[in-house]
Point group: C2
Chain length 311, copies 2
């Protein structure tokens, strides 16, 4: 065997042993020191900063132990409230919920970067696009400018993010170019990105674009519009009883069904104020606490995962 | 007498007879056809668009006849809600509350214009300055860019403003250069600006900068932090009983003392949620309706004033 081949095999073996992308679903759990088959869960709240009702519900959820991680929308008007909380609670597991859409009708926001640098992200009134159903030509280089501006504002305001994720999965599910823009920014700031193996089949570019040292979760659970309100508890209980081994992120949306959130979300019921109140109610219930114990679920945070990945 | 002198005198006489700036306190009322001594009042709500609680209270006040005019903050996240209302209620008397500060702590907003075109208006995080107490060098040419962007967004979103005024009086009370930037924009869009004769003594540049054809109100009444909550009704009743002849604008701040507005304004009580609830309560009371009748007050709108001024 030539030296070159030996060297290549050594590198390959090194790659396989340290790569969360290439290794088995258990690798993260293994590296954290948990026995095979352990079910690790992040209970993660999205959309902090979007409204006060979401901030207030997230803080209450966090302090009640109902969630153990969350991510913040920097362009939104209530970001200063949650940034202030994050600054005074540096142990809390807060990421940035990178945002390039403004999906509501009566309550809207625009970019952090200068508008003339990121025109492809904006509608004719200067807000982020309400949706991309008209196929606006979103320029990845402009996405990158905006994401960097969001991270820089968060850092300047005292937030020390543990991870990055993408509002409405816009930077994950909408093509390789946007995902790679997100990855470039994540690598530049040395932050893990919320990606799961579950998505690789439908979006093969995810696996292709990830680097060997990128952290990848195993599974995710999130409730969708197909679940009627009266089946909410049943859905979550079933998901918790049927957890697979490895690391699963529950993406939830706690909020209070009050005047502000009702008005902000009134054009449709999906991810609306009653929806968010149901999430808050289930995850702050005793039933949820009990099932975690029954199912021997271990909670884990993005901070712990990132530390494990660095080892 | 030479032709030139005759011509100059003719022009001067014409100037004096049509000039709201130069003519007596009664001129506006006169031109509206009211007898001498008539007390004309605009009941004007500020800050629409800032929060949902303010929008909801303003719409309720308007529909109850408690206010007859209001102005909208274009850069704020709830502007789309009130713009939608304005578009579907084109007879309502809505102006634009031009905004170049973001005076709250936990809830903030930034510019409509591209940030890199108006840097002097922004703090280190990209919001409008919280205050100007650190004497930032506000560039009048940048103010003009931002004001035009606010008006253009409002027009694009279907608002047909009847007048302009200035959030926190920043473009009125902070020097000739900013006032002239406001006037240039007002003249370009042919919109009247809220200015009263009462302010001329303290700010002589106002009178110097105004054009002969600019509309000028006579008086304004607004409640201040020196009035304790228990004297709220007494203050307004006294103001209404002691109205002077001419046109007086009451600048009020109706809002609902709910979760959203309490959180948005919690760092100080001035112009806070309880303050705004007190304004809402007084102006929607029977007591207010009765005193208007007792004092023989005539209500008037900016639309009517502008029409009279054009005659």
């Amino acid at each position: 065997m030539s030296n070159n081949v030996t060297c290549a095999l050594l590198l390959l073996s090194l790659f396989l042993s340290v790569s969360p992308v290439a290794s088995s679903a258990q690798s993260l759990a293994d590296r954290l020191g948990y026995p095979a088959g352990t079910k690790l869960v992040i209970i993660h709240a999205d959309d902090l900063g979007e409204t006060h009702a979401v901030n207030a519900a997230a803080i209450k959820s966090l302090e009640a132990g109902a969630i153990n991680s969350a991510s913040l929308m920097v362009p939104c008007p209530w970001f200063p409230e949650i940034a202030d909380y994050a600054k005074s609670h540096p142990a809390a597991d807060f990421g940035l919920h990178l945002t390039v859409t403004s999906e509501r009708v009566y309550y809207r926001w625009g970019p952090v970067a200068a508008a003339d640098k990121i025109r492809s992200l904006l509608d004719e009134n200067g807000y982020f696009h309400h949706d991309w159903d008209q196929n606006p030509r979103i320029k990845p280089e402009e996405v990158e400018i905006e994401l960097r501006a969001q991270i820089e504002r968060a850092l300047a305001m005292g937030v020390r993010p543990t991870h990055l994720d993408s509002h409405q999965y816009r930077l994950i599910m909408y093509g390789k170019d946007l995902f790679e823009a997100l990855l470039r920014v994540a690598h530049a700031y040395k932050l893990p990105v919320f990606v799961t193996r579950d998505w690789f089949a439908d979006h093969p570019y995810l696996q292709e674009s990830l680097r060997p040292d990128d952290l990848v979760l195993d599974h995710t659970v999130t409730i969708g519009p197909e679940v009627p309100p009266e089946k909410w508890t049943e859905f979550y209980i079933s998901a918790l009883k049927n957890l697979k081994p490895g690391v699963t992120e529950f993406v939830i949306h706690p909020g209070f069904d009050d005047e502000e959130l009702r008005a902000a979300t009134r054009e449709r019921s999906t991810w609306g104020s009653a929806w968010r109140q149901r999430d808050f109610d289930f995850f702050t219930s005793n039933q949820f606490r009990e099932i975690l114990v029954q199912q021997n679920v271990k909670l884990i945070t993005w901070r712990e995962l990132a530390m494990a990945a660095r080892k």
